[in-house]
Every structure is written in structure tokens, then in C-alpha cells.
Symmetry: C2
Subunit: 199 residues, 2 copies
């Protein structure tokens, strides 16, 4: 575009591709960053470099951290026999903001979807039964979104785990139909956890 430098143009284009941002908010954000480049743009770039170099998936649960075992999997106080299954890391973070869950997580990386040809092998499902046995899990809590795909996945996992004899529950009260965990307030998530029921 005339009047705009090539490097600035490239930065705006990259920012505009982020979820939740469009061309207009990307332009606004970049102008804001340039105006405060010493205190904002430089430090933000440094922070991104640091995260790009260190971020990795936890080899056990799929949470994002900077070590092979994430902070939760490495915390001996989080071994209460409960394993919470979530679709993605944003949902794990939402559960943690709720603050009511003290066990460990298993991040599926999505839901089963016939339409998108996503089967169990595309998700972190095959590892699940082994984790339940190895970590002496007494209860698996399904904290999946209240969508069709989320509920299909929940039932699939409950069936898969039936031979292990582990108790399988799911978040119940408080999750609205069609609702996604990451949109809920923290109190709602805690209430849903407390009112969980057998599946």
C-alpha cells in the first residue's frame, strides 16, 4: 500500500491472521506498538522469541509448557487419582482459572469428527487407557464442550475406558447447551465440576 513501509506492511499482515484480529484491529495494534516501540514492541518481540524457542507440549498430558513434563504433571501434589479430559489447552487453562480441580489433565487436541475425518488416532485417545492404569487413576472427568462432537467424543471415551473399570464422570450442571468452556465464567466451571455425575 502506498504510504506504508514494506516491513510495517508485513507485520500488519501477520497480525491480521491471528484469531480474533482482522485487518483493522491489526493496523490499530501495530500503530500502537510502533508508537510505544521502546516499551512495547521490543519487549513483545523478545517475549515471542523466548516462547518460540522454549514452548513445547507436555509429553504426558499435552499441556503447553517449557519442559518435557508440564508444571502440573511435575507437581506431586496433583496426584489425587483424578484425571480431567479436555479438548484443548485453552480449556485446560479455563479449568485452572476455576481453581476447583486438583488432579491432572489429558488434552485430546480436538474432538472426534466424521466430517473432518478426525478419528481417535488423530487425538490423544490411544494413550488414555495406559495412563489410567499407570497413574492409578480412580476417576476420569470428561470436561468436553457441550457440542455434538464434544459429546460424541465423551461417549466414545467412556466406552473405551469401560474395560478398565475406572469411574467416568462428566461436567454437568452449569454448562449451557452448545456452550464452550473457555467462554464460561470461572464460578460456572467450578459449579459444574462439583455437580459432576456418572456417565
Amino acid at each position: 500500500m502506498p504510504g506504508r513501509n514494506r516491513e510495517i506492511e508485513a507485520l500488519i499482515e501477520m497480525m491480521a491472521r491471528l484469531p480474533g484480529l482482522g485487518p483493522r484491529s491489526a493496523r490499530r495494534a501495530v500503530l500502537h506498538l510502533i508508537k510505544k516501540r521502546a516499551v512495547l514492541l521490543g519487549p513483545l518481540a523478545d517475549s515471542m522469541h523466548k516462547v518460540a524457542a522454549t514452548a513445547r507440549e507436555c509429553s504426558v498430558c499435552g499441556n503447553i509448557g517449557t519442559t518435557d513434563l508440564c508444571e502440573i504433571c511435575a507437581d506431586p501434589k496433583r496426584t489425587n487419582g483424578e484425571l480431567c479430559i479436555v479438548e484443548d489447552v485453552a480449556d485446560l487453562w479455563a479449568m485452572e482459572r476455576g481453581g476447583a480441580f486438583r488432579g491432572r489433565y489429558h488434552v485430546l487436541g480436538g474432538t472426534l469428527s466424521a466430517l473432518d475425518a478426525i478419528g481417535p488416532e488423530e487425538l490423544r485417545i490411544p494413550q488414555l487407557a495406559a495412563r489410567v492404569a499407570a497413574e492409578h487413576i480412580s476417576e476420569v472427568i470428561l470436561a468436553l464442550n457441550a457440542t455434538v462432537d464434544g459429546q460424541t467424543t465423551a461417549h466414545y471415551i467412556a466406552d473405551e475406558l469401560a474395560p478398565t473399570g475406572v469411574r467416568v464422570t462428566s461436567l454437568a450442571q452449569g454448562v449451557p447447551i452448545g456452550g464452550e468452556l473457555d467462554y464460561l465464567d470461572d464460578g460456572t466451571i467450578s459449579a459444574a465440576l462439583r455437580a459432576r455425575k456418572g456417565i
Copy 2:
């Protein structure tokens, strides 16, 4: 927050402070960036470093570029005797997207505001009369937002420039009351430019 690494936490907090982003969209954006860290996060950080190191205000018009004179001020084809006055760089970019203006710009850096104690000295207003004389400007086009402060500023500038005898016009038709330039579609801006009238 438990379950989230300190560096990732810091990145989310910085992103959440950008205009148009909140905590939730910042979390989504950062997770997206981490998932595609090789192709997105690294290049975005590089781009930010490049812009942070090179971005600067044009010493003549206040546009953002990477050289002392911005691309527009350095372009000899943009000397048609017209000078367009805008509040900020986002408005300059909006005018350029319209594509109808072929002269040069003068970025005020805001509007006069009694409430915020912003007087002419806080803006790029004192330099204006000198530019009009030095660059043989035949017409000053006021492309300020249709807000109270924008219009107060327009009248102040028109009064300041009266002794120079230069023709002062303003964008007219098409700019809705209370509207801000950067929200308008490109065609509206072009129409408003064509229908400009004396002030």
C-alpha cells in the same frame, strides 16, 4: 496462574494490552502462535524486531516509515500543491486506501482538547504555516474526524491559516456525524474527498 508457564503468561499479558484484544483473545492468539511456532511465532517476533529497530516518524509529515522522509514525502510525484491534514497515521492510511488523494499529508498527532489539556503546541500545528509557504501549497484539505474535537481543531487550523491566503477545504459529503475515518469504506472516503467544500 497454575498450569501456565511464566514466559507464556508474560506474553499473554502483553498481548492482552493491545487495542482490540482482551485477555480471552490474547490467550487464543498466543495458543495459536505456539501451535504454529515455527511458521508463525518466530517470523512474527523477527518482524517485530525489524520494525522496532527501524520504524520512525517522518520529520516532515509525521507518517510512520523507516527513513527520515517517509515514502510519500520522498515521492516527487506527490507535489500537486495539496496538503491533507489528518489526526493520526491510521487516518492517513485510510486516505491512502481510498486512493483518490495524490498530494501530501500532515499528521497532527491528535486533536485539540480542552478536557485533556491538548493545545496546538502538543500537536503538529505550529509547523503548518511554514510548510504551506515552503512547499507552495495551494490547498489545505482538512480530513479530520467528524467529532466535536475534530471539528474544533479544523476551525482552529482554518483560522491559523487565514493570513497565508491558502485555500482551506474539508471532507464533506459522506462522512457521517460522529464517524471516524478509519471505520469508513474506501469508496466513502473517495466520495467525501471529491465533494470537499470551502470552510
